[in-house]
Amino acid sequence: MTATADSNKPAGTGLWLVIAGALALIAGILAAVYLSAPKTLTIQSGTLLQQPRALPEFSLIDQDGAAFTREQLLGHWTLIFPGFTYCPDVCPTTLAMLKNVESQLGPRAEQLRVAMFSIDPERDTPEQLKRYVSHFSPRFQGVTVAEPGLRSMAQTLGVAYIKVPGDTADSYTMDHSAALILINPRAELAGYFTTPLQAPALLADLKQIIDRTP
């Protein structure tokens, strides 16, 4: 009886040591995972990349005919909206919503730029883009570039597009990615806002993103 108790005691202590060691290891792993993970921000209307992706150099033309390069994305957030002006439903509805969101951002709007990225350079000349975007907000920009620059920029941004012929040569339409692209102040692709876009959710997300800018 006594002999049995004595032999059990060291075995019990060993088991506890193993359990304590295992718990410490798990705690250590959890702490390491927690500390090494970037502080993630969750948004309602899209997805933020865990690791923002640096953009390569590119060259587009803006609504004034000036060069629009990677440099123009530095120092502020940018929301890029792929579209085309020969689109009377979704494009103006989205721009009107973005105008609404912009005005509700108040002083935070200073830290955000909105650029329509036309995937239809054939019809969207800088003049046409200027007339179009400035109808919604004097701060909105319109950018595009002829092929093959367009294809390469679209790939960089993760934008797909295809021309769909119409009844006449100039009545074609364009299918294109519906998501808005978010670029951070270091000119890195930071995330996407996906459809259906709702102004209140987008506004809340943008406020959060702007306020958390380091």
Binding site: Y86, C87, D89, T93, M97, A160, T173
Partner: protein
């Protein structure tokens, strides 16, 4: 027996008198989004009430202020924004068909005059034998 006959007769009479009258379809909340200057296409929206006893199907639209007009639908499929031509509006008896931004809309080509917010223009929906005319207000709602 007489009572049953009377009830049946009353029910029969009610079938004709109690069901809603064959009302004529009506359009309301008809508007066209104000387009940027120089735009060659605009989009129109509306609500079409069908109080009649038959399904209403409209597959054409026209108006004096536009070069051409069609029915289109905007859709997002696999993240791609697309526009489908050759659509129609359908309203079952007693229902309302709704055309609003981001879905079924009137695609209006080549405005014949400058249409600014507050202006009005007339469009006519062609629904088989029936034509329904409505005044559309140019609006820049968001």
């Amino acid at each position: 027996m007489i009572r049953i006959l009377a009830l049946a007769l009353a029910a029969l009479l009610c079938l004709s008198a109690c069901t809603p009258k064959d009302g004529s379809p009506k359009i309301d909340d008809a508007w066209i989004r104000e387009a940027p200057p120089g735009a060659t296409v605009m989009a129109g929206y509306l609500r079409l009430h069908n109080p009649s006893r038959s399904t209403l199907r409209c597959d054409a639209v026209d108006g004096p202020d536009f070069g051409a007009a069609e029915l289109h639908r905007s859709v997002v499929e696999n993240g791609q924004s697309r526009m489908l031509p050759g659509q129609h509006i359908e309203a079952a008896p007693g229902t309302t068909a709704v055309l609003e931004p981001g879905g079924l809309h009137l695609m209006l080509f080549r405005p014949q005059r400058e249409l600014r917010a507050g202006d009005e223009t007339t469009l006519i929906l062609r629904c088989g034998e029936i034509s329904i005319s409505a005044s559309f207000r140019i609006d820049n709602r968001s």
